[in-house]
């Protein structure tokens, strides 16, 4: 009897845990927006699909340029400075930050793209709340990617400024 009761108790808790996300998804934050999602489902998805394609192009171009800056410019310059016994100041740490931010960029973009793919797989006529929640997640992931791009641009600017200081050591 006790075993049955504990089994029932555990099952009830498990059911609540599983059901709650469904309840949360079905609770609209803004009913008007959900109605719009369901009404404009196909055009919204078409726009998002187009955006995903364009983002892929942007990702490839940015990735190439970042990679090129790191491996064809920063690293060779750092090596040359070291070989010529120049004090590079903070150049090495800026390069390390750049490399770390580049890894974050790759990772965050991958997460963003996967979120967009998941978003496109949701039937927004039947599940507008799920679609909108996923859209909010996609916006957050896109913001992460934008932050990484801003950090990388800052690293590039810092590297240039630091290198200007090095030129004072040069005859």
């Amino acid at each position: 009897m006790k075993k049955w009761l504990s089994f029932l108790a555990i099952s009830s808790v498990a059911l609540l845990v599983v059901a709650c996300p469904v309840w949360a998804a079905e609770t609209p934050a803004n009913q008007k927006q959900l109605d719009m999602v369901a009404y404009r489902c196909s055009s919204v998805k078409a726009n998002i699909k187009r955006l995903q394609t364009q983002d892929a192009i942007t990702r490839v171009e940015l990735g190439q340029n970042y990679e090129s800056i790191l491996t064809k410019l920063m690293v060779p310059m750092n090596t040359r400075l070291a070989k010529n016994s120049f004090d590079g100041g903070n150049i090495l740490s800026i390069t390390a930050d750049f490399s770390s931010n580049l890894d974050n960029f790759r990772q965050h973009y991958q997460q963003y793209d996967e979120t967009i793919s998941d978003l496109l797989n949701i039937d927004c006529t039947k599940k507008p709340a799920d679609f909108y929640n996923k859209l909010l997640t996609a916006r957050a992931k896109r913001s992460d990617v934008q932050t990484d791009c801003a950090n990388l641009s800052q690293n590039i600017k810092s590297y240039r400024e630091e290198l200007q200081l090095v030129t004072f050591q040069v005859n």
Binding site: I57, T58, V60, L73, F86, Y159
Partner: protein, 118 residues
Amino acid sequence: MLHSKLINKSKSKKPEHRVDNLVWLTLGTLLITLVIMAVALWLYRISGTAQLDLSRPEFNGVRQQAKVTEDDEFESSGTITRGTVNDFMKLFKARAEKIDAIKAFGPEPLSDQALSLE
């Protein structure tokens, strides 16, 4: 002698056993191939290569838009003079300008306004 012993041993097996072995060998090979293929596809997804692969069918119309750049490389060996630093700065500035020209991942395209959800 060993070779002839092995031949005699295989000849002594019944034909049905040889067919069974062949079936198991084929199934085993197929299974290994499927496992390796599944691992390869998983790596393709996990590593982020899938996001960069413009050869996918959905990128048919826009593949040409991706500009393939062949950039100059700065030599890691050599002296450091004002001239070399200036040359480096020119390359660096050009690369930085290419990056700044790319409008990167702003919030507008996913906004309610852009998606006509307002």
